[in-house]
Symmetry: C2
Subunit: 339 residues, 2 copies
DNA sequence: CGTGTCTTTGACAACGTTGTCATTTGTTAA
DNA sequence: TTAACAAATGACAACGTTGTCAAAGACACG
């Protein structure tokens, strides 16, 4: 690798002068600058980050830690959002995943410390509480899609309460009153928050939220779930008082609702309105009719997390806001207005 | 941050001795070691990678560059596989995406060089040719899910020919003869390779591969495609001679085939067998009946790419193998044996 | 021409680590 | 007891960069 010294020797100037030129210091004669530039080009000089950093400069690398055990491709967008935010600031991203293993997480904190990253984003694959394993880390740590149990760290979260509210509000506004709900596991924080949101929407509409119409679409533990949506939905449809709309805990659930509806000869949206959650385009734009859903703003969560990390470095240590990102309604074709 | 010097002062030994202990050098007295270990713990010393690297050590960081424009979550598994392989070697991953922009790619090569990464994996989001933009880079570059136009770089690719063969072989073996094919864009390398594979399987079975039964499921340019699978499939099903099996270019296509079949009252697999490609679990395990498909071995591609990168460092510069990873059949419930 | 000011350049140290080599301490054999 | 040797430890330089400060050159003004 070419060093400043080598360029300096070729150009017949001091190392420091070359350094100044590389860093755009104006205190250097234009003629010298142009002359040295040529040599920089020819030798294809690239500054050595390790040396720079050692000299005391702030690190240009951020760390992203995930717990991605999941086979779900859900939250790639968090990473994409984070990357986009970093590119703007000419920073780069060191990435690693814990696979949900606390020992691995501890190792990774060491690794990140060892690289002196400027900040760390801890991103969870679904909305939940996460106690950061003793990082002994003095730089900023931002939680994305998760929060600290005792709220002592900054976090960026989807506004699931508002998301649930939005789902319910939409079908209620379309005139539906017999509404079925198929949820994710109740162990998931989001499930409870969304139910609160739905209840709020029901109350506003003067309709009572009937728990009997709410069913779990999954059984089993978090890491080994079985989908029973097809069966649950089929049973709902058999009722003489079958729902005219189904609110789903995510788009995957909606997908099986489509299957169940098809097998019963129900046409969406004519006989049944369906609303999803997540807006996984792979599903929502592929289903026929295309799925009306509420989007999980993962990209923005990642983006904001990085911005927060950067700004957090100037805050005191009690800085721990909890920022909620709204979940917008994405209207497509799977809901019908009742007349 | 705590340095060797600080630990050395506390422990009353030389910097070098502490260094030896940190690096597990056996040439140090057991008593000294234990004594200093305590101080290392207390002060929570973590070695500074930047300093280590500057001292001349090989970098412990690899770079992963992707062209991920896509909204598709397909290839996260490449990253997961790469990470898994790196964790084994106690290495970390610097990640960045070009968004398909050549200028950005050039910048990223500089960034990676600047960090003196030990090797780079360039991962494409779908199987294609990619000419690495002038990296001026002397470390190993491995192409994952893509290949160099003139085969002058090592690459790891899914064996799409074998994948197509596997799809066709499976339905042929089940006795199907009227077989429809719905493909991805012909601009994609994989589409052509798979067709070759299918033709080989047809030949072996003594059946002629009828191009009239092959249709495109997408229209438009690569970055702005419209799915027309539903329409194409519906038309196929109307034929008095309708196919008994459909081979799909991916699972997403299969998903719309399911919709089209449902809307025509066709029951899968009784009236129609469907086989997908990719094995995106989000789709293949959620559809009812669950989808028989051929898996794209993305995880293994990422894993092998890293291994190749590590071993490539000892090879000469003409080292440019093209390694094909087989695409295995994943049997589920969407295909039926004709009697 | 001398003085002061501003511009341009360079010498040097320091960042934290480890390789090299020298020094000190301990151990064994004669 | 001493010489020879091994084990343990440390002094120092070097990696590539930039901040600090000093020096040298250019220029204007009286």
């Amino acid at each position: 690798m070419v060093t400043l010294r080598q360029v300096a020797e070729r150009a017949g100037v001091s190392i420091k002068t070359v350094s100044r030129i590389v860093n755009g210091d104006p205190a250097v004669n234009v003629k010298t600058r142009d002359f040295v530039q040529v040599h920089l080009q020819n030798l294809n000089y690239i500054p050595n980050q390790a040396a720079r950093q050692m000299r005391g400069a702030v690190s240009t690398v951020y760390g992203l830690m995930t717990d991605a055990v999941a086979t779900t491709p859900y939250s790639v967008d968090i990473v994409r959002g984070a990357q986009a935010a970093l590119i703007e600031k000419h920073q780069t991203l060191l990435i690693a995943s814990t696979d949900g293993d606390a020992a691995r997480e501890a190792e990774l904190w060491q690794t990140f410390r060892s690289h002196r990253v400027a900040g760390v984003i801890y991103a969870a694959m679904f909305h939940k509480a996460h106690e950061v394993g003793n990082p002994a880390y003095d730089q900023s740590i931002i939680l994305a899609n998760c929060f600290a149990p005792n709220n002592d760290r900054p976090s960026i979260l989807p506004d699931d309460e508002q998301g649930g509210y939005t789902q319910a509000k939409h079908v209620l506004k379309l005139g539906h009153r017999r509404i079925g709900v198929i949820t994710l596991s109740l162990d998931i924080v989001a499930t409870k928050l969304r139910r609160q949101g739905m209840q709020r929407a029901f109350n506003e509409a003067g309709v009572s939220y009937n728990l009997a119409n709410e069913r779990r679409g999954v059984v089993g533990l978090l890491d080994n779930q079985t989908l029973v949506i097809f069966e649950v939905a089929t049973e709902m449809f058999k009722s003489h008082n079958r729902p005219t709309a189904i609110i789903c805990g995510n788009d995957q659930i909606a997908m099986q609702v489509y299957s169940a509806a098809a097998s019963m000869g129900l046409i969406i949206p004519h006989d049944l309105s369906v609303i999803g959650f997540d807006d996984l385009k792979l599903i929502s734009e592929t289903l026929r009719p295309q799925l009306t859903t509420v989007a999980l703003p993962y990209y923005e969560i990642g983006h904001r997390a990085v911005e927060l990390s950067i700004s957090a470095r100037e805050q005191d240590e009690n800085f721990a806001p909890r920022i909620l990102i709204p979940c917008p309604l994405i209207e497509r074709k799977s809901c019908r207005k009742l007349s």
